[in-house]
Symmetry: C2
Subunit: 254 residues, 2 copies
């Protein structure tokens, strides 16, 4: 047991959830490596939701509320880390969930669907009867009524090729990615540079606040959004943190 007083409690507990996900067959082994990459970038952005991330999370909420057919894509890491939070967000913005794996096996898809059902998910796309164009067959499989037909897709932790393929299909892609330089981050319509465990509740909170607005008012919220600016802010944050962490370690070494 990790004591709550541990300075890295949240990070360590998150890690335990991912390891648990692997044990339960929900998360892939590759997902552990992805988690490690995320830890490094989360550390560099200060393990907090930056102003730039919060701004993108508000845009994401507005886009999901404006969507005609929003879908929330769920992968093995998201299912291990924030299954309940994704279900809750889906309810608030009226977006079904769809399991979509990079290292896809039908067994793992079924396990994740079962897991989401057990946590109360009622609105799930579960077919794999359509293909996203331009990517390798197994990785292209989606539900014809779900991601395939969606106008807005929230993809926590997506890979670069699929992100691009979804954008090329004309969809608004909201990505959650801690690496502001990744192809996903660069290719998405709205990139949330934040840890998924903070990002999803934040989007839900904003969605709750914005839900009462009329369509025109929501359109005003998203108008003029500049994703390049979001990424640039994240990079500036990392650079500032590198200097400040380095300076502070040497003032007060552990």
């Amino acid at each position: 047991m990790i004591p709550k007083s541990h300075p890295r409690f949240v990070s360590l507990m998150t890690r335990e959830l991912i390891i648990e996900g692997v044990k339960n067959g929900i998360t892939s082994t590759q997902g552990l490596i992805a988690q490690g990459r995320g830890e490094a970038f989360d550390y560099l952005i200060g393990e907090k939701s930056t102003d730039g991330a919060l701004a993108a999370e508000k845009i994401a909420a507005a886009e999901l509320l404006l969507a005609r057919r929003p879908v929330i894509s769920v992968n093995g890491n998201a299912a291990a880390l924030v299954p309940g939070e994704l279900i809750r967000l889906g309810e608030i913005v009226n977006a079904p969930l769809e399991v979509n794996l990079f290292h896809r096996t039908q067994e793992r898809v079924d396990k994740i669907i079962k897991h989401l059902h057990s946590l109360g998910a009622q609105n799930l796309y579960t077919k794999s009867d359509a293909l996203i164009t331009g990517i390798e067959h197994e990785r292209a499989k989606v539900d014809s009524d779900g991601i395939f037909s969606a106008d807005v897709v929230l993809v926590p932790l997506e890979d670069g090729d699929r992100c691009k393929a979804l954008v090329d299909m004309g969809k608004t892609v909201i990505a959650i990615d801690l690496n502001p330089l990744s192809r996903t981050a660069q290719g998405a319509t709205v990139t949330i540079v934040d840890n998924i465990i903070r990002a999803v509740p934040n989007i839900s909170k904003f969605a709750g606040e914005l839900k009462g607005l009329r369509k025109e008012e929501l359109q005003e919220v998203v108008m003029g959004y500049d994703n390049k600016k979001t990424l640039s802010l994240a990079i500036d944050e990392v650079k500032t943190n590198l200097d400040s962490f380095f300076a502070n370690r040497y003032i007060s070494p552990q």
Copy 2:
């Protein structure tokens, strides 16, 4: 099979070696997360041995050659990634290897020893009859003739507490750590901010070149070495890369 032409061939092959290590019981599950963190930082330093890293690798070679009792510590990730390279370095600088695990089980220690033997390692410390002071019992176990008595220890991928404990015992600690802000990086005597798969062969190369020198000449090589400067150079490199990667992605998006 990953084609050699893949732009991320080395990174992906390294990942496969770690996954193979987990399957063989050599690497811990936590080692996969550590690998992911390393990938992120390696990406940020440009996936190359920087001038600062090369300078530290040369110092490391000189320190190992100057040592009366050098030891190379081997953990689960190092054993999966560079077992042969560590054996070779040990032969060049006359340093035995000692298996030393953060997530220690006797079974995994034995598997790694067997693995190293099968690859030709002849000089191994295998007892666990002494304790490093100031850290938790299981993690403190070392060989009384090995790390416990060493004057210079090379610790690829060490954790912060143990690095500090070894330094507190008066040892010269050479760490290989891709995160220039980690407690290990900050606490070691010589920090090599480089990927272990590049760092170990580099140290061997420098050791081969320096081997003919007299003791006084080696002492001149290490004299005035400033580890804080090494770390500062690594941080500057990351900052420069952040700007240049960001700029270039936008000039030529994938």
